[in-house]
Each structure stands twice: as structure tokens, then as C-alpha cells.
């Protein structure tokens, strides 16, 4: 049992949760994820570690309320417990001294890139963060990210904060930056990561994405997280979740992500308590 220390909505429909999981916090590395089970008999859902505190023994995630399990999480209160918080799973993001690195986060990815930006900065890189959202009211953690990066670019579809545009404007943003970008890291929904990878391909900048696949165990046991990378089948949970965005078969990732679309809608449509 893992006690919830904090759970609150930080911008509409996006939540930040901190739970007591000292062993996970102790071993956490940037880019790793945890699996939560929000209730007994509940589903196992992967969420990226957005922060952790070894001293306090806590880990934090940022999540979007999209379906049954995240809705259940969203309704939990501080002081309650979660039956499962297991991790840290997956490989850590490769951190090295690359030069200038662009970290792009959209939706929950704004939270996910925080530990990555922090580690890249500590390793001596110039870090530029791009925060993508539909509108300014959906942006969060700017202060936190500012503290670990050299520059922040906000990108909103309606232009209410920073530049007007979306992930499709990434190449243009990279071109207008004062420095040459040596590596791009994309984190958010699969669409953002796919579209961002398309933008960086002609620029020939190495681009790392953190795939959002279906998962069950997160330890290499079930294989539901299979993806094709460079025409080879990989398990996202143990070989990833970070892959070269230019080598990912995005059509397959997108299709596989939708495998349970119909089933996932059933509980949202019914008015009966399930």
C-alpha cells in the first residue's frame, strides 16, 4: 500500500500526484516510469516519473484524466492509499554532454521532461524547453522548468502565451533559436512525438521519443508493448520506452494504441456504477 501525499489538478484535467514510495524514489532515474494500480482489481497503468524526493521518500507523476483508471486516480485524495506503485521501470533517458538539447513537452509531457532537463543541465548541456499546449491556461511548471534550463519557449495554438503555433512549427522554432541544436527530446502524446520527429528528420537532428504504448506488467512479460523500431520488434517497457523517433513505425504505434478503444469507452458511456 502506498500513501498519497498530494493529488491536485494543476491545469484543467491535468493532475499532479505525489505518493510515498521510498524504494522507487531511491532508484529513480530521469525518463523512467512507474506502474500505478488505482484500486484493488484495478488496471495497471504506466506513468512517467515527473519528480522524486529521496529524502521524503516520495515520487510524483503528472497525468491527464483520459479514461477509467486515470479518472479513478483523479478522484483519490491525500491520505488515501494506492494498492500498487511499482518501479522505477524502463531505461533511463541517456544523459551525456551533447551541447544544446531541445526538450519538448506537451500535455503530461511537460511534467515528464522536467527530470530530463534537470539531468541534461547538470551534465553541462545548454537546455531549451519548448512547452506546447492549446492555450496558455494549459501550461504549468514553467517556474520549475526555468530553474533547470537556459531558455523556455511556450507554444500555444491560440497564441495566448509565447509563440502561436503547434508541434508542426518545431522546425521553424529550431531555426530561429540562436544556437545550433544537437539533440531533441520529445515527450507527450504519440501524435506530438510523431509530428515532432517528422519536423526534425530533414534537419538531421537526433530525436528521442518516449513511447506511449499499452502496457500490463512493464517488465517484459506480456509483450503488449511491442513496437517496430528500425524494422525490429522491441518491447517498449524493457527496451525503451525511449527510442529514436526517426526509426519508430508510427503507424503501428498509433494502431496498437487504439486496440481497446471500444472497450475503454464502455465504462465511460454507462451510467451504472461499475
Amino acid at each position: 500500500m502506498f500513501t498519497i501525499f498530494e493529488n491536485r489538478m494543476i491545469v484543467p484535467n491535468v493532475y499532479q500526484m505525489t505518493v510515498h514510495a521510498p524504494d522507487v524514489a531511491q532508484s529513480a532515474l530521469p525518463g523512467q516510469f512507474v506502474i500505478f494500480r488505482p484500486e484493488e482489481d484495478g488496471e495497471r497503468i504506466p506513468l512517467t516519473l515527473a519528480d522524486w524526493d529521496v529524502q521524503a521518500g516520495t515520487v510524483s507523476v503528472v497525468y491527464l484524466n483520459v479514461g477509467r483508471s486515470t479518472a479513478k486516480l483523479a478522484s483519490s485524495k491525500a491520505g488515501q492509499t494506492l494498492p500498487t506503485v511499482v518501479g522505477p521501470l524502463g531505461n533511463a533517458m541517456e544523459i551525456d554532454r551533447y551541447g544544446a538539447v531541445l526538450c519538448v513537452g506537451g500535455c503530461y509531457g511537460i511534467g515528464s521532461i522536467y527530470p530530463i532537463a534537470r539531468a541534461l543541465k547538470a551534465a553541462g548541456n545548454t537546455v531549451v524547453c519548448v512547452l506546447e499546449a492549446r492555450s496558455s491556461f494549459l501550461l504549468y511548471w514553467q517556474e520549475k522548468l526555468r530553474a533547470v534550463s537556459d531558455q523556455i519557449v511556450c507554444l500555444t495554438r491560440d497564441g495566448t502565451s509565447g509563440k502561436r503555433g503547434h508541434i508542426g512549427s518545431l522546425a521553424e522554432i529550431i531555426r530561429t533559436l540562436p544556437m545550433r541544436i544537437d539533440r531533441v527530446i520529445l515527450n507527450g502524446c504519440n501524435y506530438l512525438m510523431m509530428r515532432g520527429s517528422q519536423e526534425t528528420l530533414p534537419l538531421k537532428i537526433k530525436t528521442i521519443v518516449t513511447l506511449n504504448t499499452l502496457m500490463i506488467d512493464g517488465t517484459g512479460m506480456c509483450g503488449v508493448c511491442r513496437v517496430s523500431v528500425n524494422s525490429e520488434t522491441k518491447f517498449a517497457c524493457v527496451h525503451g520506452p525511449h527510442f529514436d523517433g526517426h526509426q519508430v513505425d508510427w503507424a503501428e504505434v498509433t494502431q496498437r494504441r487504439k486496440a481497446y478503444l471500444q472497450e475503454e469507452v464502455i465504462p465511460l458511456r454507462t451510467t451504472q456504477p461499475l
Partner: protein, 470 residues
């Protein structure tokens, strides 16, 4: 070793009461209902109490079969339990899942007359009888030694090591990656063959003996073996063979294509048969193909059937070579699973939306026996054909998960990723680390995992009580 045929030899092997086929093919409750005490005593009375019992020779843990059977025949069930449990700590499980026809019953003197004693069913009877008693028989526990042992994996191997060592007075903690203890017994083998309450009961029993259990803990990730060694005197690795294989063919990443592990985990561990009452989704399929011929394939096929699908098992050899337990093959046949032998799928064919719509297959012919003595199948050129399916389940095998070897310097692994351990002691190439079960042998059986675990426990105990001699 001819056995003298006694007068009045009873060749009438008592049948197992089962749920009727028409009923059970639509529910997930246990198929075999078990002997009652009358049936058990009748069956036990048939045993001719061989002086040199062939049955014992064929049991991997050498249960004193004639003795426990005699006890049943005399109605002394408690004595029977004690005899049984001195060799096998999970009789309710092994009685249900051991491949008895290849093991104990395969060595029974009455086999020649096709009347071998139903040893597995009698074993199950005693295990279940004990569980139904108001007071659990608690074994004696040796005084605390102050030694600490970490066990990785809560499957049959890990549970056995933990049970043996806790009784010897050591402090034992099991670390399990999933949220439930039991390993394959809870995530793989379905409810209709091994009810989960039986596994829970065994786990609860160990908890009462004082075994500590930590679930949701992935050794190698949450904490490494080396870090455990700082806190524990010895480590036992029983992490199983949980890495699924997919046969090499195009189209395996289409939607509707599963590993057996995924398919079974959704239903068993995550209780998918109750969806949408439980949140883990499962799909309704119309026509399901299961590739393989072992226990895992039977379990997938019978699960799919219970979910209402027309289910076909595709196996590349013939029925005689199928490695699954005979009883389960027969159950599957009775329930209406379709078997296509000498059939090898070569490609998953998908539709324009990325869903599987069928399998391209080729017919096989059995050639000369290979090194293992099994006749190896060879494809018949020009015999390609197509079968329509909306789901395909790969049940062709598993190998050990590389997570622990990868994160544990000094532990040697074999070519197939299995941890190398001494078969007599379970000692690995790393000091103070033992291993046993599927992680050493590759996917095998419950009783073999338990046997290996028992030997490892003995070796660990020797080390703990006399470390200076090591």
C-alpha cells in the same frame, strides 16, 4: 519387474467427477470437482503397495506414494497429509497440474492394464482435505537463527524455498514483481484448472509461518541483487521464465495478435473475464487461433472458448507429440476446441485497419526422429492455405527474463538466458546467490521448480549454519 497380479485386483480406475461439458464451456469455474472421501478410499484401495514402487521412481520429488495411498485407504487422512507434505509442500497444486502420465502414474505397475492408480487425484484429495480442516496443521519452527534470506519471485520455486527456510528458523522475505504472489500459478494457469483461492491459501499459510512478502517490487529495478546482498545473508533467484516468444513470421504486431502471457494475464491476474466490472479490458473475438501444443496453448484455447470464440489449436506435429498434459488435451477436445495438427502458420495477415484477419499456413509431414527422439516436422511444398481468424495467440514458449542477469554482475547465464546453477545445490556462479526453477531450466513444470527449490533451500541452510566452511 513383473508385479504379481493379486486376486481381486480392481482395474476400475475411479473417474474424476467433472462439471458437465455443456456447462463448463461457458464458465471459469474449476472443471474437475475432485474425489470425495468415498471415491478416494476406493481408488486408494486399488493400489497393490509394490515393494519396489515404479511410481516413486518417476516422481521428481520422490513422494512416498504407496505410504500416503495406504493412509487414504485406511481413512487416516491426517497421516497421509503428513507423509505427502514431507516431500511436497503444495499437494493441492501438484495434484492438479503435474503431468502425472509422464511422471508418477507413468511408472505405476497397473499402467500396463490401463488401470494406473490416480495418484494425482489422490494427492489433490489430501491437499484439499487438509485445507477444509478447521485447524491448520502448523509445523514446528526452529528457534530463530538471526539469518536473513531474500527470495526473488513468488512462484512455486520461491514459495518452496521460503517455506523450507522459515521452518529452519531463518528470516525470509519474498520480493515479487507483480501485485500478487504465486507466479505462473496466478497469472498463467487459469481458474478453471487451478482455482486462485488454492494458491492464496498456500501463500497465506506461508505468511502464518512468518514469511514476509513484498509485492510490487522488481528486483533489478526497484533494487539490485547486490544491494539485497548488503542486507541479507543469502539470495535465492526464482524469477521464472516469463519472456514470451513469438514465432518468427510477418504480421506479429497486428492488433489481435497476443503472446500467451498477455492473453492469460488479462484473464487471470487482471480478472478480465469480469470485464467491464473490472477495468482491464479484454476483447470479444469470434475466431481464435492458438499456436502451440503445450499446457500453455491448452489454457489459452480453453479460455478463448469460454469467452465464446470458435477456437482452433494449430500444432506443427501430431497429437502424440503434443507436450500438454493428456487430461487437459482431452478436456479441450470435449469442450469443443478444434485441433489442426501438422499445420504451421507462416504469416499473420492483416486488414487495412491493422487488425489480424487470418493466418497463412503450410501443411507439415513428420520426418525421421531427431536427436530428442521426436519426429521432426517438415513443410510440404505447395500446401499453403489460408485460415480466417480475428485473434492469434502465440503459445510456443517462454525464456527467462534477462532483467536480473543484466543487473547482477558475476552471475553467469547460458545461451538461452537461463541462470547457470549447480543442479544439486542451486548455487550460481555468484557467491551467496542461489537459483532454481524455470529461471535455471527454462520453462518446465511446477514440481521440477519445487524440487530444485528444495535442494537450494538445503544448500542455503548448510551455508547459513556453517558459513566458515564455504
Amino acid at each position: 519387474m513383473e508385479q504379481p497380479v493379486k486376486k481381486g485386483l480392481d482395474l476400475n480406475r475411479r473417474p474424476m467427477p467433472k462439471q458437465a461439458v455443456e456447462v463448463r464451456r461457458r464458465n471459469f469455474e474449476e472443471v474437475a470437482l475432485g474425489y470425495d472421501s468415498r471415491l478416494a478410499m476406493e481408488e486408494a484401495a486399488r493400489c497393490i503397495q509394490c515393494k519396489k514402487p515404479g511410481c516413486v521412481e518417476r516422481c521428481p520429488v520422490e513422494v512416498d506414494i504407496p505410504a500416503f495411498i495406504q493412509a487414504i485407504a485406511e481413512g487416516e487422512f491426517e497421516r497421509g497429509v503428513r507423509i505427502l507434505k514431507s516431500k511436497n509442500s503444495l499437494p493441492s497444486v501438484c495434484g492438479r497440474v503435474c503431468p502425472q502420465e509422464e511422471q508418477c502414474e507413468g511408472g505405476c505397475a497397473l499402467l500396463k492394464k490401463a488401470a494406473q492408480i490416480a495418484i494425482g487425484r489422490l494427492e489433490r484429495f489430501l491437499g484439499d482435505w487438509e485445507a477444509a480442516q478447521p485447524d491448520l496443521m502448523m509445523p514446528e519452527i526452529a528457534p530463530p537463527t538471526g539469518k536473513r534470506v531474500a527470495v526473488i519471485g513468488g512462484g512455486p520455486a520461491g514459495l518452496t524455498v521460503a517455506g523450507d527456510l522459515v521452518k529452519l528458523g531463518h528470516q525470509v522475505t519474498i520480493f515479487e514483481a507483480l501485485h500478487k504472489m504465486g507466479g505462473v500459478l496466478v497469472y498463467g494457469i487459469p481458474e478453471f484448472r487451478l482455482p486462485k483461492r488454492i494458491v492464496e491459501r498456500e501463500v497465506e499459510y506461508l505468511r502464518r509461518l512468518g514469511v514476509k512478502m513484498v509485492v510490487d517490487y522488481v528486483v533489478g529495478k526497484t533494487r539490485t541483487v547486490d544491494s539485497l546482498l548488503e542486507e541479507y545473508d543469502a539470495v535465492f533467484v526464482g524469477s521464472g521464465a516469463g519472456l514470451p516468444w513469438f514465432s518468427e513470421m510477418p504480421g506479429n504486431n497486428l492488433n489481435g495478435v497476443y503472446s500467451a502471457n498477455e492473453y492469460l494475464t488479462r484473464f487471470n491476474l487482471m480478472r478480465g473475464y469480469s470485464f467491464p466490472l473490472v477495468p482491464t479490458p479484454v476483447k470479444e473475438h469470434v475466431r481464435v487461433a492458438v499456436i502451440g501444443g503445450g499446457n500453455v496453448a491448452m489454457d489459452c484455447a480453453r479460455t478463448a472458448l469460454r469467452m465464446g470464440a470458435e477456437t482452433t489449436v494449430l500444432y506443427r506435429r501430431s497429437r502424440e507429440e503434443m507436450p500438454a498434459r493428456l487430461e487437459e488435451i482431452e478436456n479441450a477436445e470435449e469442450e469443443g476446441v478444434i485441433f489442426r495438427y501438422l499445420t504451421l502458420p507462416t504469416r499473420c495477415v492483416g486488414d487495412e485497419r491493422g487488425w489480424v484477419k487470418g493466418l497463412e499456413c503450410i501443411r507439415m509431414e513428420l520426418g525421421e526422429p531427431d536427436a530428442s527422439g521426436r519426429r521432426s516436422p517438415v513443410p510440404l511444398p505447395g500446401s499453403e492455405f489460408f485460415l480466417p481468424f480475428d485473434a492469434v495467440i502465440h503459445a510456443i514458449g517462454n525464456s527467462p527474463n534477462p532483467l536480473i542477469p543484466q543487473t547482477t554482475p558475476g552471475i553467469e547465464v547460458g545461451r538461452k538466458g537461463n541462470i547457470i546453477a549447480d543442479p544439486q545445490t542451486g548455487k550460481t556462479t555468484k557467491p551467496r546467490v542461489w537459483a532454481g526453477g524455470d529461471v535455471v531450466t527454462g520453462a518446465a513444470t511446477v514440481i521440477l521448480a519445487m524440487g530444485a527449490a528444495r535442494r537450494a533451500a538445503r544448500s542455503i541452510h548448510e551455508y547459513l549454519t556453517n558459513p566458515s566452511e564455504w
